[in-house]
């Protein structure tokens, strides 16, 4: 029986064996002994298959990590770390496909189509942990900037993805290091730090310094 999953694996098998996307939905369907029509009941295009594979990775990761006993006790920082580690652990099983799919992504500022679902899942998740972090006081609530935290996490995710694709250390240990160190730095920046105090102090001086001048002591 044809399912979303069976089409996914047939597609992965096809692109990895031939090294290119199938010529057409028609030929792909024929090869897998189904009617072209049947294909469209599940997916609109090859791109949407790829998109769903990426999205599944994220949603599987999320359901896996939130099932861990320790999850509830984690800080936002740890939740972010947990997501990254589990995602790339899971991604190992589809590494070849990921390498293939990422290779076809055109460089640019906008989010590639195949990442759209993944990004939505990820942003949903990071928005939640950032909000939790701000509420608990773990992260600094900076006007304007706080809304951008989730974008920073997404950028970092893309960075680690690229790092992982190029990582050839045993067990991808280097990726673990990149995650541990990178995410920690990012969250350090999200936290209230000396810079906030400096900014605050500068603001204070700006206002109160002027007062002094106006009254001309």
């Amino acid at each position: 029986m044809t399912t979303k999953e069976s089409i996914q694996s047939a597609y992965i098998d096809s692109v990895l064996t031939t090294g290119t996307k199938p010529k057409s939905v028609y030929s792909f369907a024929k090869q897998n002994e189904m009617a072209e029509q049947e294909f469209y009941t599940f997916y609109g295009s090859f791109e949407s298959i790829e998109m769903s594979i990426w999205t599944n990775l994220a949603s599987t990761t999320l359901s896996e990590i939130s099932a861990q006993q320790v999850w509830a006790g984690y800080t936002s920082r740890e939740k972010a770390l947990g997501f990254y580690y589990s995602f790339f652990e899971l991604a190992k099983s589809k590494r070849s496909f990921i390498t293939f799919s990422s290779k076809n992504i055109k460089r640019g500022l906008s989010t590639p189509r195949v990442f759209e679902g993944l990004k939505a899942e990820f942003e949903n998740f990071s928005y939640k942990i950032v909000q939790d972090g701000i509420e608990s006081g773990e992260l600094a609530d900076r006007k304007l900037f706080a809304d951008r935290y989730k974008d920073a996490l997404w950028m970092q995710f893309l960075f680690v993805l690229k790092f992982w694709i190029n990582d050839n250390s045993a067990g991808f240990e280097k990726t673990d290091e990149a995650i541990e160190k990178g995410v920690n730095v990012t969250f350090d920046l999200f936290q209230r730090s000396a810079l906030d105090n400096l900014f605050d102090y500068a603001k204070f001086l700006l206002y109160n310094g002027n007062v002094k001048q106006k009254f001309g002591f």
Binding site: Q68, Q69, V70, G73, Y74, R77, E78, K79, L81, G82, Y84, Y85, S86, E89, S169, G171, E173, K174, D176, E177, I179, E180, K181, G182, N184, V185, D188, Q191
Partner: protein, 440 residues
Amino acid sequence: MSEFPKEQNSIPITKVQRSAKFVSTGLKVGGNYIKHYSKKLFNPDLNTDELNLNNASDIYDSLSELKGSALKVAQMLSMDKNMLPKAYSDKFAQSQYNAPPLSGPLIVQTFKKVFGKTPEQIYDKFESRSTNAASIGQVHRAELNGRKLAVKIQYPGVGDSISSDLKMVKPFAFRLLGMSEKELAIYMKEVEDRLLEETDYELEVRRSIEFSKACSVLNNVVFPEYFPELSGKRVITMSWLEGMHLKEFLQTNPSQELRNQIGQALWDFYNFQQHELRAVHADPHPGNFLITADGKLGCIDFGCIKELPDEFYYPFFSSTSTALMENKEETIKAFRQLQMILPDDSPIQVDFFAELFKEMIGLFAKPYITDTFDFGEDAFFTRLYTFGEKVAKMPEFRQARGVKDFIYINRTNFGLYNLLHELKANINTDTFKPHVVLEY
């Protein structure tokens, strides 16, 4: 430990950043150090109080952010009290206790990689906060089938960073030891080899089982039980030993008798290994020992083992015997074998160094010559340090002497002496005697 160390917020990311860290520290130290000549391998307290404290905190501040092998080097330097001024060693000694822990998710990740399971799936209970740092890893409490366990987890990428970290430590080592690059290279290699061995947790488990079995004949020495099936490349599971670290133990004001008992256990532990096993636990850092409630010495870390090859063991330990020392010709041959006297030394130099080393080893060997020895006496240590200082000032010592094996064996024995001194233990030193060869 009542207080958890603060979790690390940032680790310098890349090698470049780590280098930068080292460089900036190097500069600071250089500044602090500018008026000072660094000293030789056998150097005691330098008595240059005005700058050591600054240096120590600068170096420590930077090393404590580095983790891994750099931290190990800090510990190593902190061990060699005879090589470093007290200000350094006190600061460095903290490195054992204050290394910031890794994140919970990384621990889960490490377990998944080693066992394919999370800690929760393996143990009945697992504390995700580490109790303390173990130089290249951290220790967690766990429980399985009602048994309390200690789980040691290694930081990722430690092995990789050792070589590059050591290269970066070199400038410090030059300043601190005053050796040339070429001389230093042989010693650095030795250190690197040992450090790399320490990252192999599978090897450590095998050795721990082997050594704790061999040492089980000793009185008052206990070891944790190791669980190879719950250990792997980067995780070691052992039973949890309850006890106090040396410092805490001493604060309880133990009786002389109890201090002697612990001291005796330490002496036997080390000398049994050196003379009977010919391989020794070469990390006599106070953090590697626990003193149990029933007055036993617990050894909890077999990461660093130094094997004693015959060509080092016999000439070195035989020279602790007066029978060899009275035969000048054979003594010189032994010293040549140890490269304490070098092939192109002139006859005057040969005589000079033979005398000097005889005095030095004679001093070191004092505990071996009598049947009992009181390590509580300051006089012996003062003599040791004064002698070291004298040697350090000698222009003849511009060149490094001695085979590479000396590094770890000195570290082991001076470390042992220091521990015994801190315990103020009066012990029988004739329990495990060196095997002596009188002709070379």
